[in-house]
Amino acid sequence: MKKLILYAVVGGIAFIIGYFVNYQLFSDRAPVQPINFSHKIHAGDNQIQCQYCHIYAERSRVSGVPNVKRCMGCHQIIKTDSPEIQKVASYWDKKEPIPWVKVYNLPDHVYFPHKRHVRAGLDCKNCHGDVATMARIEKVSSLQMGWCLSCHSKKEVKNGSDCWTCHK
């Protein structure tokens, strides 16, 4: 009887540890996308500028995912025989947007304008890593508050550690 309790306790503790290990450490940093899009090919090999596709980065708080029309703009001609491109084309034919999985996700109470950061001359790499080498996009920054603050204090951003600068 006593032993059973002991087993239950040990098992329970191990269970909780396992749960949090998964939750904290094994968060999906590079989720599988509906289309196996490679930044390496686009930004790396073909040297396409970030803002060619992420068109709103300098104008809005969001950088914007390229709309399907923009994808098709090139891929109506380029590499139309590739199975991945055909997937894009099938979305286009069905007139459906592509359901990309969000990699850099901020909670609702955070106000993060891409515009201000891009206009301040920050390179996309600073936060998003060297995407030109990534076959599948991967989250390279923790996006935790300490991470934001470390940069804000390093760059001596005006009111950079004021709560309402980044929270809403």
Partner: protein, 259 residues
Amino acid sequence: MSGFFERIAGKLKSYREPGYYTKLDHKWTMVIDLDKCNGCEACVVSCYAENNLPVVGKEECEKSRAFSWLRIERYVEGEYPDVKVKFIPVMCQHCMKAPCETGCPVYATYHNQDGLNVQVYNRCVGTFTCATYCTYDVRRFNWFTYKWPKPLEAQLNPDVSVREMGVMEKCTFCIQRIRAAKDKAKDEGKDVQDGDIKPACSQSCPTGAIYFGDLQDPNSVVAKLAKSPRRYRLLEELNADPSVIYLKRVMGDGNSSHE
């Protein structure tokens, strides 16, 4: 010896003064002309629309849990037929010596460099202290997680977060508009000009009774109105140093055709 004590006292005092750590960038101030205000409550709805305030329903209203960050208080004097009715819009007064700020144990409410008393929703643990200490009863609490029946949620303003259960909130002087105006001014490479910022209530006011601007700018409209002989502040004797300035309503004698 006395100099020593004075020095200590001065130190303690300056520590409690706002702006001890940083000089204020702005001092946003609202001036409300009570002689213009006719109590129509357009501002109240405007505030609901701008700031994602939930509608709580009759039962909750009965428990005084309505969310209006801005309310029109109405006071009645006298009896029929000599009834005098007075209106006053009351919102967070953004006190420079705010009682609520000393109450919060976790700095969820504090004074920022714009002279605003701000509430950080995601830091709030909900001790209610700020709301209890508030002398103007302007703080509102998220008693539940409020839902917007579809498709009403399409109206929610993305510049303002939807607060979760257990969090205190209050009027922000439409800080998202201040932020947007600053953002725009920065794009244009200049400072925020007087009149660039209009909080939702001020914008919608049909009689134009609500003015908003930077008191530190001597040429702003509010700085001029703040010198009006009609100026007063709500419960000024409590020394919370509020940032909302009211202009007294003109009323009283002058009934040449009466009595």
